[in-house]
């Protein structure tokens, strides 16, 4: 009776406190993230240039089916994804494993060095790669000094080499970033587990596959999802390194969406529709990833 008079039981109080803590963050997410998403979806159902928009239904989504350049950009983006992400993550695990060695001297220095590329801004590193691989850039000068090439090779002017340059740039920029996650996870694995394995006669390779990889699995799944998400939204490298060229062979989806809004005659309806498609792709891939990674019975 007393409790009722006061209005709240202890449990209700705790719940209220919980809600009080949650509400500000939840509201922020709703306003800053969910509202724009809903709004973008509404815009994707409209057509027209600039400010003269009217409702059109799903015609913008149909339009994607006829857009060869956007389809090309999907192809390019997935090529980066399929080649770059596995290479990068394998490298990151190997580096993390090496740098986790307790007997290694100057561990801190090496770790910093590998992580350092992440501290550079996306635009500046893309510009640096652009000048490195220019016809009269450092890479060409070195190759010419070594007499491997007679004259500068136009790395960014050829479709295949331009794609390779982008992939190399991405690996350089992001490997250290992923390595840090693996390092953190590795440090959570008890050293005694490895010692036990050693006593049982497991060699390094066996320990790696039998202990390290399974215990790292949650982290591997997380980095996979983050990398997929990041690669599908790839923008700076395409814009600053190659401008999407030559002849749209390196353009990414986000770059094309940006062009649709800010370089060409603005078509925000269509751009929103394309953005939504990217969103769906990320969601589907992340879902598959979680399902495949989840081996609980």
């Amino acid at each position: 009776m007393d409790a009722k008079k006061k209005g709240m039981t202890l449990l209700a109080k705790q719940r209220a406190a919980g809600w009080a803590f949650l509400t500000p963050a939840a509201l922020m997410i709703a306003i800053m993230s969910f509202y724009p998403m809903v709004r973008a979806f509404m815009i994707s159902l409209q057509k027209g240039t600039g400010a003269n928009m009217q409702f059109t239904g799903f015609s913008n989504y149909q339009r994607i089916l006829a857009d060869k350049v956007f389809q090309q950009s999907i192809g390019n983006t997935f090529l980066y994804l399929i080649i770059q992400v596995p290479i990068m993550l394998v490298l990151a695990i190997l580096l993390a494993q090496l740098l986790n060695n307790r007997d290694l001297k100057l561990r801190g220095l090496f770790r910093t060095c590998v992580f350092l590329p992440c501290a550079t801004s996306l635009v500046s590193y893309a510009l640096i790669f652009r000048s490195l691989f220019a016809t009269d850039g450092l890479i060409n000068s070195v190759l010419m000094k070594l007499h491997i090439l007679d004259q500068g090779y136009n790395f960014l002017g050829n479709a295949l080499s331009a794609k390779i340059v982008i992939i190399i740039a991405l690996i350089w920029r992001w490997t250290g970033y992923n390595m840090v996650f693996y390092l953190a996870a590795l440090q959570n694995i008890e050293y005694s587990v490895y010692e036990a394995a050693k006593i049982d006669g497991a060699n390094g390779w066996k320990t790696f596959w039998g202990i390290t990889v399974p215990l790292l699995k949650p982290t591997i799944i997380m980095t996979f999802i983050m990398s997929i998400n990041g690669t599908l939204q790839l923008f700076d490298e395409s814009v600053n390194l190659t401008k999407g060229g030559p002849a749209n062979t390196t353009i990414t989806m986000s770059h094309y969406i940006y062009n649709t809004c800010f370089i060409n005659v603005p078509n925000f309806g269509y751009a929103s529709a394309m953005s939504f498609l990217v969103f769906i792709m990320v969601a589907v891939l992340a879902f598959i990833n979680l399902k495949v990674g989840d081996t609980r019975d």
């Binding site: 057509k47 400010a51 339009r63 060869k68 652009r130 220019a134 136009n154 060229g245 002849a247 005659v265």
Partner: protein, 379 residues
């Protein structure tokens, strides 16, 4: 500077100038317009002429009708006026001249046995002959050009008074006779080392500063870039463009870029803004004389070209009076059908050219460009 001059006769007047890159200016306009809130826009903005039609189509309410302005519009070339007009109404005061010039390194030409006179009033096929010869003898390229965002092909077709759209503004790349001739010549020049095709603007500039390019063809604003290479002082000379062979309407003149002033719909004192523009950019030769030496900004305002400042010899260009020459060239530029889809057309055609040079069949590449542009024009 314009503000200072206007303030002489109008005490208490001052202008707050914000410098923003052209791309950022346009991004800002797009953002404001889509949000439906122009309150963060300044009163007067300078915009690229090539972008005007796109914004007039997309955001007509961002601009102020300048019909009531006290200005003699015919003091500007017809083409210059047309860039910032829609349905016969003026939305911009032309300022920065985009008249094209061909600049050549006289020392390189000399080495190959040519003079700038040999490159004046010529056709592109003659240009190609000389270019091959120059490359053979000196290893340099007679022209440097950007692959993706390149303007060379646009200047070529527009020098014929044509464009990649027809009179109704529809995509006109496949079957465009004038256009095909331009593409033929351009692709052949790339394949024959007459043109150095580079990937981006930095590389474009470095072909000039590094001395790899013996020639540059672009809007006259390129002189500012050239003049920054002190060691090449006195080696450059300017002349008119080559013209396209076998086209009746072909000329040796074209326009590339340039810009005009517009008054935004956020302007609280439209009358003052109009008067300010009219008294400075719209009618004052003294004003243009004053800004030329400091900024190198060549006027679209035709009477400005007659002044002595414009006729002074320029030491960088071997004592040619380049500014008066540029204004004179501008008066010969043929008008053409401009389009809001300027950048889309340029990209589609440049993509086709890269593919043609890479071995794709010409007709197929142009057909693809046609369908790309048609696609962009639909909603």
């Amino acid at each position: 500077m314009a503000g200072e001059q206007y303030a002489k006769d109008h005490p208490g007047f001052s202008v707050n100038v914000i410098e923003t890159s052209s791309d950022d200016c346009q991004t800002k306009l797009t953002t404001c317009a889509n949000a439906g809130d122009y309150s963060t826009m300044p009163d007067i903005v300078l915009m690229q002429d090539n972008s005007y039609q796109k914004f007039l189509l997309s955001y007509p309410d961002a601009f102020t009708d300048l019909s009531s302005m006290d200005i003699n519009w015919d003091d500007f070339g017809a083409l210059k006026q047309a860039y910032s007009m829609k349905d016969g109404v003026h939305y911009g005061v032309p300022f920065d001249n985009g008249g094209c010039i061909a600049c050549y390194r006289t020392d390189v030409l000399d080495e190959a046995g040519y003079t700038v006179a040999d490159l004046t009033d010529i056709t592109w096929s003659r240009f190609m002959e000389i270019g091959k010869d120059v490359h053979e003898k000196t290893g340099k390229y007679l022209l440097t050009s950007e692959a993706a965002g390149g303007d060379t092909i646009m200047m070529m077709i527009q020098s014929c008074g044509a464009n990649w759209v027809d009179d109704e503004g529809k995509a006109y790349i496949a079957g465009n006779e004038v256009g095909e001739k331009c593409v033929d010549i351009y692709a052949e020049m790339i394949q024959n080392d007459v043109v150095k095709l580079v990937n981006n603007w930095d590389e474009y500039i470095s072909t000039i500063t590094g001395g790899e390019a013996a020639g540059v063809i672009n809007g006259n604003w390129i002189t500012a870039t050239l003049m920054s290479t002190e060691d090449q002082k006195g080696l450059w000379e300017i002349t008119n463009l080559p013209k396209v062979d076998g086209v009746d309407s072909a000329t040796n003149y074209a326009n590339n870029g340039g810009s005009s002033w517009y008054i935004t719909s956020n302007c609280q004192n439209v009358e003052l803004a109009m008067d300010f523009l009219a008294k400075t950019f719209g009618s004052s030769t003294e004003f243009y004389d004053a800004i030329l030496p400091e900024t190198g900004a060549v006027a679209c305002y035709l009477p400005a070209g007659e002044s002595t400042v414009y006729n002074e010899p320029n030491a960088f260009f071997n004592d040619q009076p380049i500014f008066a020459t540029i204004v004179e060239y501008s008066s010969h530029i043929p008008a053409f059908k401009s389009t809001p889809y300027h950048y889309e057309a340029r990209e589609a055609v440049n993509t086709a050219i890269v593919n043609i040079v890479g071995g794709t069949d010409k007709a197929a590449a142009l057909d693809e460009a046609q369908s790309t542009l048609e696609f962009k024009m639909t909603e």
